[in-house]
Symmetry: C2
Subunit: 202 residues, 2 copies
């Protein structure tokens, strides 16, 4: 299955600015992307990077400068269905979790992300379209329902965790198995604080 | 399988103080507890509430005023193994996710919680003991390794989401299927803000 991996090549991971400098953010974003591409390949699928600008990776790249929603919709329209979408910052994703996503039934299969997001999708019907603005998991359910399509959800902590802010670095350090997690563990220690954990520079 | 459901009967859900008044916090905590007990029962297991004080629920209650770690350790020592531990605030838990936990192999099966926590456990070997302080998922892996025990992880967004703070009310509203989620949806609307969602009073 073709799996689109959207990637913001311009200024990735701005919400990590309080934890990482711009070079570090770019490095982490590229490591996360590489991990996700490897994970999708290892699960037996064909990743295609959908990037806002050219990016040097070991996978085909489709560039589209537009916002995420129209870029993904057009790429899905050009893809044989079923097709997948897996965000480039799912640093906990494993081949097993991607296989669970692809093995989830429904005209649309969704992996919800923390905070109302949609972290990964499988689309099996061309009547579906995406909307990544706001609480996208709710919008995607609505869009599917309006088109008479079924939606199934994959219950995955790994696919539900995107790396957006400092606390997510702790998730990577505690649970990640890829190069991005190694990079974080080399630089940050996990520290407990008020019942939740965060990371501190080594 | 006996499944312990630890519950803080004294002052539950203090981290929700900025979103809910004390009566509301108590109401939500009891609804969450009731949902978890029903979910464990529906999955075919026998829930036992492990509470810091008497609590009126439709399940056996074991009271223990001590902190979570010694209370759970003693209750596990009195339970036939395998035995489970499922936190009382897992408002997204479903019978299916509990079945996946119980069906996960290992001398210890762990459902990690957001922020380094351990939201649910199955213990199959008496050499294991718990430690819920700090980044407990890491401590539980270490304790098991030191005792020569295997640990397996269940990859579940539903079990990984405990209801602790305002953002978690949005998780309940978006994904919950129980009485606690209904209660939240009656009072709060999900609102998008800076790319993540939160809740606002209706």
């Amino acid at each position: 299955m073709r799996v689109l991996v959207p990637f913001d090549a311009a200024e990735p991971k701005t919400r990590l600015a309080e934890a990482l400098d711009p070079d570090e953010r770019a490095t982490l974003a590229h490591r996360l992307l590489g991990d996700v591409l490897g994970t999708v390949s290892d699960a037996g699928h064909e990743p295609v990077v959908l990037a806002t600008a050219a990016v040097d990776v070991d996978a085909p790249v489709r560039t589209d400068e537009r916002p995420l929603t129209p870029a993904v919709d057009d790429a899905l329209a050009d893809a044989p269905l079923p097709a997948g979408v897996v965000m480039a910052d799912l640093g906990l994703a494993t081949p097993g979790s991607v296989e669970r996503l692809v093995g989830t039934a429904g005209d649309v299969a969704i992996a919800p992300g923390r905070g109302g997001g949609t972290n990964a999708l499988v689309v099996r019907d061309p009547a579906f379209h995406v909307d990544f603005h706001g609480a996208s998991v709710r919008d995607h359910r609505r869009i599917a329902a309006e088109a008479g399509l079924t939606v199934e959800t994959v219950d995955s902590y790994r696919l539900g965790t995107d790396v957006d802010e400092r606390a997510d670095l702790a998730e990577l350090a505690l649970h990640g198995e890829g190069a991005a997690a190694d990079w974080v563990r080399e630089r940050f220690a996990v520290a407990a604080e008020d019942g939740r954990v965060t990371v501190a520079r080594r």
